[in-house]
Symmetry: C2
Subunit: 208 residues, 2 copies
DNA sequence: GTCTATAAAGCGATAGAC
DNA sequence: GTCTATCGCTTTATAGAC
């Protein structure tokens, strides 16, 4: 970690760091096939030689960018899923967190890129990230069942996959409509279905 | 409609038809950015002049292909959603229909293509298709409520968006994992949540 | 480390013969 | 209608000066 990396402004970052961040942005906006080294260099404000000095080529740079993005997504999700509250509330926090819906998921979008999915190295971070996410969601749901908050009949693993899929599919529907409404509706729908699994203790007549 | 179009074999189709079908396949496999006119021509087995005679260019040909694919998807979905049975069973028929999960959704994938979503003309068929799908799913669910099969508290519009999102997101998760399991789990999860909304009439002790 | 120059290949489109 | 030839541009990468 150089001292330069502490500041947020692009100008003070190392060449390597600027390349990775530019690639992260462009992969999100245009996908792997749609992102050219030239575009990356222009956004990073460096010459072609710098890129081929630090990275072996486009795929190597994309790998660094995808790994970085996947790590960031895990951190964001983890924050939502560890908020205090019931299991339902933690899942809701994940589903309702602020998102740039019309931009879609920077990791999910990579799954539609042929070159990415066909390369075991480039696909690995996606696989690992979604696997982790489903695992964490399942943990939260299992935890809710143990505490008696959620119905025992609920399948935590299947439900976790559903929750993750709703988010990814919500992005797809929203981008097709050029409108965030379908995303919000999909989230609202799954939250309502999940709410029906919340166990309400019988109200005690003598409770204060 | 020429007589040639009646047969299934590629050889007997018109040049125009071969171009459209080749484009449909390539858009599914490689997306819009990843599909070159050259690749289309090679798959269709025609020269470059033929393509520019029948279509104004790549985007024009893509428009024809996307419209065709969207129509096909509507027909397939409609078949599932009009099967005899309860509302739950019809939604289940849609969710559980045979799919080439790892290939993803040919329409959903287009939402990750910058050039497609940024063109109102190319995006229109996607928008229309998903809007129609959510509408039909909502109709089936509303129908189920009217017949007393589904809980009155269920929001048909939101739930329809959830169901559509689970399918689209399921594709994303499956492609990331290079495994159909996450898709199946997501579908299983939403079906279980929906099953909890099915109203079971109180068993009549005197029933035969 | 970073730059510019160059290259071979592919891109989307056009021209014009047949 | 269909073909081949060609165009101007971009892509990904390499070479070599500084």
């Amino acid at each position: 970690m150089s001292t330069q990396e502490r500041r947020g402004s692009r100008e003070r970052l190392s060449t390597q760091e600027r390349l990775v961040r530019s690639t992260q942005e462009l992969l999100w906006e245009r996908g792997y096939v749609g992102t050219s080294p030239k575009a990356i260099l222009e956004r990073a404000g460096v010459g072609q030689g710098s890129m081929y000095h630090h990275f072996s080529g486009k795929s190597d740079l994309a790998l660094a960018a995808i790994r970085r993005t996947a790590e960031g997504m895990k951190e964001t999700a983890q924050e939502c899923l560890t908020t205090p509250g019931t299991a339902y509330e933690r899942v809701a926090a994940y589903l309702l967190r602020e998102r740039q819906v019309l931009r879609g998921c920077p990791i999910g979008r990579m799954t539609q890129d042929r070159d990415v999915v066909q390369s075991p190295e480039l696909r690995a971070p996606l696989d690992e990230m979604f696997d982790w996410l489903r695992g964490r969601l399942a943990e939260v749901l299992t935890d809710g069942q143990r505490r008696g908050e959620l119905a025992a009949g609920l399948d935590p693993v299947a439900t976790a996959a559903t929750v993750a899929a709703v988010v990814q599919g919500g992005y797809v529907l929203a981008r097709a409509a050029d409108d965030t409404a379908p995303f919000d509706a999909a989230v609202e729908g799954v939250l309502a279905l999940l709410a029906a699994q919340v166990v309400h203790p019988a109200p005690r007549p003598d409770s204060r």
